[in-house]
């Protein structure tokens, strides 16, 4: 029976090669649009993550602080659940950094100007303005700490940007996915309608509904997979072009590529199932 379903699928593709090609190309372009959106979303997310990595609380230490007091404060801060790691920046290191970051003013800096500090890096997912502010306040309560800075304003802006990007990403992603499903569904419906007579004949001679569905499901699966591969190739080509002429971007990893292909196959199968189901009810 599966053999017959496969044969029917191949026969249908050979009988209407243009329609088959059109269906695959439509699926490919729908998924390509979705893929491009995914690529943009992925790169924006990566960029925001890279900036977020720089969210840190810097505690400037009093000159009189003993090394033991600093060590015990660092150990205590390192145990905070929101904290990823704690780093001690000595006066010398601070001076080196300042000189390398602002080369032309290197002579201006004097060792005595820059205090030693503790750099506190926050854990991913725990970098909201409220969390960072709370950690900064706790750090500020250590007697050895003279002043605490964490870029209050830009942490707030970054967090807002991240929230907006997430919401817009989800909304646009759903819209693109819906458009892809609608277009692919309509395309598959067209191929089902082209085989309306065949479905009618199958029913006349006593084929079961599941038998009638089978070749269409295989057809939808194959078209979905081919459309998915084509979409992936087009997305990859676009990514290469952008990298070559505009800006360095990242591409989907293997897991995401597989998810894309499976999504194509899934939409193909579900689209076919719905279209044939409707047709079977109609005949």
């Amino acid at each position: 029976m599966i053999q017959l379903a496969l044969r029917e699928t191949v026969t249908a593709a050979r009988r209407a090669p243009l329609l088959t090609a059109l269906a695959i190309i439509t699926i490919a372009f729908s998924l390509y649009a979705f893929g491009l959106f995914g690529l943009v979303a992925l790169n924006i997310r990566q960029s925001i993550r890279a900036v977020e990595e720089r969210v840190e609380v810097r505690a400037f230490l009093r000159d009189s602080s003993s090394i033991y007091a600093v060590d015990s404060a660092m150990a205590a801060i390192g145990k905070y659940p929101e904290v990823a790691r704690v780093e001690y920046v000595s006066q010398e290191k601070a001076l080196d950094r300042a000189r390398s970051e602002m080369g032309e003013f290197s002579d201006v800096f004097d060792q005595a100007v820059l205090p030693a500090s503790i750099e506190v890096h926050m854990r991913a997912g725990l970098r909201s303005p409220e969390t960072v502010a709370a950690v900064a306040k706790r750090i500020g309560s250590f007697p050895i700490v003279d002043d605490v800075r964490y870029g209050e304003e830009w942490v707030g802006k970054l967090y807002r940007l991240r929230t907006i990007a997430s919401f817009v990403g989800i909304a646009l992603g759903l819209a693109f996915a819906a458009v892809a499903v609608i277009i692919i569904g309509a395309t598959i419906r067209m191929t089902v309608l082209a085989r309306e007579k065949e479905i009618a004949v199958m029913r006349i001679v006593g084929a079961t509904d599941s038998f009638v569905r089978r070749p269409f499901l295989i057809d939808g699966l194959i078209k979905g997979v081919f459309g998915g591969i084509l979409a992936l190739l087009m997305t990859w080509a676009t990514h290469r072009t952008v990298n070559e002429y505009f800006v360095q971007t990242v591409f989907f990893d293997n897991r995401l590529m597989l998810v894309g292909l499976l999504a194509g196959a899934f939409i193909g199968v579900v689209g076919s199932m719905v279209s044939v189901g409707r047709q079977l009810k109609r005949i």
Binding site: M1, L4, T11, R15, K197, E198, A200, V201, M202, R203, I204, V205, G206, A207, T208, D209, F211
Partner: protein
Amino acid sequence: MIRLLKVSKEYTRGRVALSHVTFQIKKGEFAFLTGPSGAGKSTIMKLVFMEERPTSGDLWVSGVNSRTAKQKEIPKLRRKLGVVFQDFRLLEDRTAEANVAFALEVTGAPKAMIAPKVSRVLAQVGLAAKATSYPSELSGGEQQRVAIARALVNDPMVLLADEPTGNLDDRATRGVFQLLRDINAAGTSVIMATHDLDLVRRADFRTIELNHGRIVYDSAETPREPDAPQT
């Protein structure tokens, strides 16, 4: 074998296609369904074939009641019924033998028995020499013979022929009708819907005449509805 009891069929917007129709077709019987267009002939065919279900009343086909039949029972029942239409309904991209074989393939018949069975049934309808011809290469009468072969290949108990000669010239009509008589003589019941009264008059078979969805004449005098108009 086929029994309709007070069967009515209404479509949307209240259009009545059949009203309280009662008759019975016995094994091996040949019956004409006649009447003008819209009388309800095709509706009866669709109901017997369980393409549609009655709005009220009961209809049994080979012991299966269409009101209570489950959807998955219907394909199996259809394999016991052969159907032929006015417009042949052949697949244009397949040869005559492939069209006939298709009916066996979709019902899961063993591969080894398909070719001999197809040859036998094509010979039975007089088309052995045209087995590899495509429908477009065949005349109307020949296409209808292929459709009949397809209907016969599963050895049905009943052949339902809905205006099978409607698209054919006189000569082809006579040929197809003779073929249906031969099939009936071999033991298969035949129900033939037609508005060709000449054909009906020439043959001495049971005739059920319909008008506006009601039986107005039945030569076998099956029990009538009390409210059915007398003719």
